[in-house]
């Protein structure tokens, strides 16, 4: 058990000291996957070349080569990211078996830093969903309770972490797909500032919202991974050229901080539990008390336009998705339906057979929102709401250095609970969507188990654009305060499986 329950930082230290080899660490995780993934179903594909990659890193280390801090540490990769040598389906039948001819930039950066890809993780089809129930390959089960969803769209990555099948994972977050799975599985997830991580090779959902980021069990691990993937990339025209500080250092400083004196923490009134699950509200307010006792100044801030965020998001996302998914035309990659007729007949039959119900729903909705006569009323208005939400953030950040809220309105819900009611599923993202619309960074970290169901509750921290380091500093302080209070980590209470 010990190799798989270590944090990535601790495992990296053992690799550096020579106490453990990368082959041993990788094998331990492959064994764990073989033992539990039949139940969890976090992985769509396990990398048959993982041990070979691990042996290469071990040989480099033995030869005295200079290696990055996470060299030799295994990592799981959300199936939305293109990977040479491994199928990349984005959870869709239309891409079944497709092996990309190139690596997504975050994947290329991982490989260059010596991390070992363990495989590809399950997700809602094309990242459309909050439960992984929309995966064409069947849902992932929450390691805390197999009758419940692991969140979505990145439920596979989060469940892999919570089930100790991987010490690190990559996710993508368009409206909460990293943070909400983190919240409901008791793990840590970060959506960086828009442009902070390259989107090149991430199969696009909504290009003005998508962001790749870390999925981990500790705040420090997220910082270490963010340091690897947060690089300028000329192949993504939205990639930022900022010289980022070390987020791992920010986390280490936060973990050491004696006091939070001088830090202004804004509680977003509109996200402070309007109709949220009582246990979520309770743990959120307890965490606020803990931060207050550590010297932080708590201020209430109002973001009056956040109530329009979900509506704006479900116009912008389908509109951009309907355009992005036009590339699945049965010509250059993916499946082709075996029907006769013109190329358009084949295309329409392929898309009918290859896309699942949620993808069709959003493509049709997006096509409607962009069609002549409706464009101004829907897409145009939604873009104006985006401006109003950015203004809400700007005025809130005049009063506070960071903003906080619960990461999700409830703990993990049961399979089937919202699958037949798209609107109920969409409202689940109310806490996470504003950060995507404004491009600001957000983190979710676990703050306890809800008393009524014993399931993890997530705490969201948001910072101004480009100030991702503030998430790591405060996140690491709160993580340490909680662990001092509990005498253990939250994830150590996860079922053994």
């Amino acid at each position: 058990m010990s190799l798989i329950t270590l944090s990535a930082a601790d495992l990296a230290a053992k690799l550096q000291s020579g106490e453990v080899s990368s082959v041993e660490a990788t094998q331990a995780h492959l064994d764990r996957i073989a033992a539990v993934d039949g139940d969890v179903h976090a992985f769509l594909h396990v990398n048959s070349a993982a041990l070979e990659a691990a042996a290469t890193v071990d040989a480099q280390r033995a030869a005295g080569e200079k290696l990055g801090p996470l060299a030799g540490v295994p990592i799981a990769i959300k199936d939305v990211l293109c990977t040479i040598g491994m199928p990349s389906t984005a959870g869709s039948k239309i891409l079944e078996g497709w092996i990309p001819p190139y690596d997504a930039t975050p994947v290329a950066l991982l490989r260059a830093a010596g991390l070992i890809p363990l495989g590809k993780t399950n997700m809602d089809e094309f990242a459309m969903g909050s439960s992984t129930e929309h995966s064409a390959y069947g849902p992932t089960r929450n390691p805390w309770d197999f009758d419940r969803i692991p969140g979505g769209s990145g439920g596979g990555s989060a469940a892999a972490l919570a089930a100790f099948e991987a010490p690190l994972a990559l996710g993508s977050d368009t409206g909460g797909s990293i943070r909400q799975p983190g919240a409901v599985t008791g793990t840590v997830g970060v959506k960086p500032t828009y442009g902070g991580v390259s989107r090149y090779g991430a199969i696009a959902l909504a290009s003005s919202l998508d962001q790749v980021g870390p999925v981990t069990r500790t705040v420090l691990d997220a910082g270490l991974l963010h340091d690897v993937i947060g690089k300028y990339d000329p192949r993504d025209s939205t990639s930022l050229k900022d010289a980022w500080p070390s987020f791992a250092d920010a986390a280490r400083e936060g973990a050491r901080a004696e006091s939070l004196k001088g830090l202004r923490i804004g509680v977003v009134k509109e996200l402070d539990s309007p109709g949220f699950q009582p246990g979520v509200t309770q743990r959120f307010h307890e965490a606020i008390e803990l931060l207050t006792s550590a010297g932080a100044e708590i201020v209430e801030v109002s973001a009056p336009h956040f109530e329009y965020a979900v509506a704006a998001y479900y116009v912008i996302l389908p509109a951009e998705a309907s355009s992005n998914l036009a590339k699945f035309d049965s010509v250059r990659f993916g499946m082709r339906a075996k029907v006769s007729g013109t190329v358009e007949d084949v295309m329409a039959a392929t898309r009918e057979a290859g896309f699942g119900p949620e993808v069709k729903r959003r493509i049709i909705l997006g096509t409607y929102a962009l069609s002549a006569g409706y464009y101004d009323a829907y897409y145009g208005s939604a873009q104006k709401v985006r401006t109003l939400i950015q203004r809400d953030f700007a005025s809130a950040f005049e009063k506070a250095d960071v903003l906080i809220s619960p990461s999700a309105p409830t703990t993990a819900f049961k399979f089937g609970e919202k699958i037949d009611d798209p609107l109920a599923m969409y409202l689940n993202d109310v806490t996470t969507i504003p950060a995507n619309l404004a491009g600001v960074p957000g983190m979710s970290l676990p703050i306890g188990l809800a008393p009524e169901d014993g399931l993890p509750v997530g705490f969201q921290i948001m910072a101004p654009a480009r100030e991702d380091a503030r998430l790591y500093a405060l996140g690491a302080t709160l993580e340490r305060l909680l662990e001092e209070k509990w005498g253990r980590t939250l994830i150590s209470q996860a079922p053994a499986l």
């Binding site: 939205t238 930022l240 329009y308 013109t342 729903r361 049709i364 409607y368 609107l423 654009a465």
Partner: protein
């Protein structure tokens, strides 16, 4: 109430090149009606004085020098295609017979 009818959904499906079944069109008509009614609230606050934001972080166009770089080989580009002839993607007729 929204103006989503089965005819509208049929037309949208045609624009989006998805050969939806009549059952899917029927189901989507009801669902889309409810979703459209719900998202229509964006127009409540989208007054003419508010500028639109298309992109969260302001950026200008990014240019690079127009010089040849490394690209995929023909084999790599065709490797994932449902059908090809070794140098080109293969598709069925672009135009119908009567055209």
């Amino acid at each position: 109430m929204s103006e989503i009818t089965t005819d509208v959904v049929s037309h949208l499906a045609n624009l989006a090149r998805i050969a939806l079944t009549p059952e899917e069109i029927e189901k989507l008509t009801g669902e889309l009606g409810a979703i459209v009614d719900s998202v229509a609230k964006v127009s409540e606050v989208a007054t003419p004085d508010v500028p639109a934001t298309s992109h969260p972080i302001p950026l200008v166009n990014i240019f690079r020098p127009d010089v040849p770089g490394k690209t995929l080989t023909t084999e790599e580009a065709l490797a994932g295609a449902p059908e090809h002839d070794g140098s080109r993607f293969k598709v069925s007729a672009i135009l119908g017979e009567e055209q």
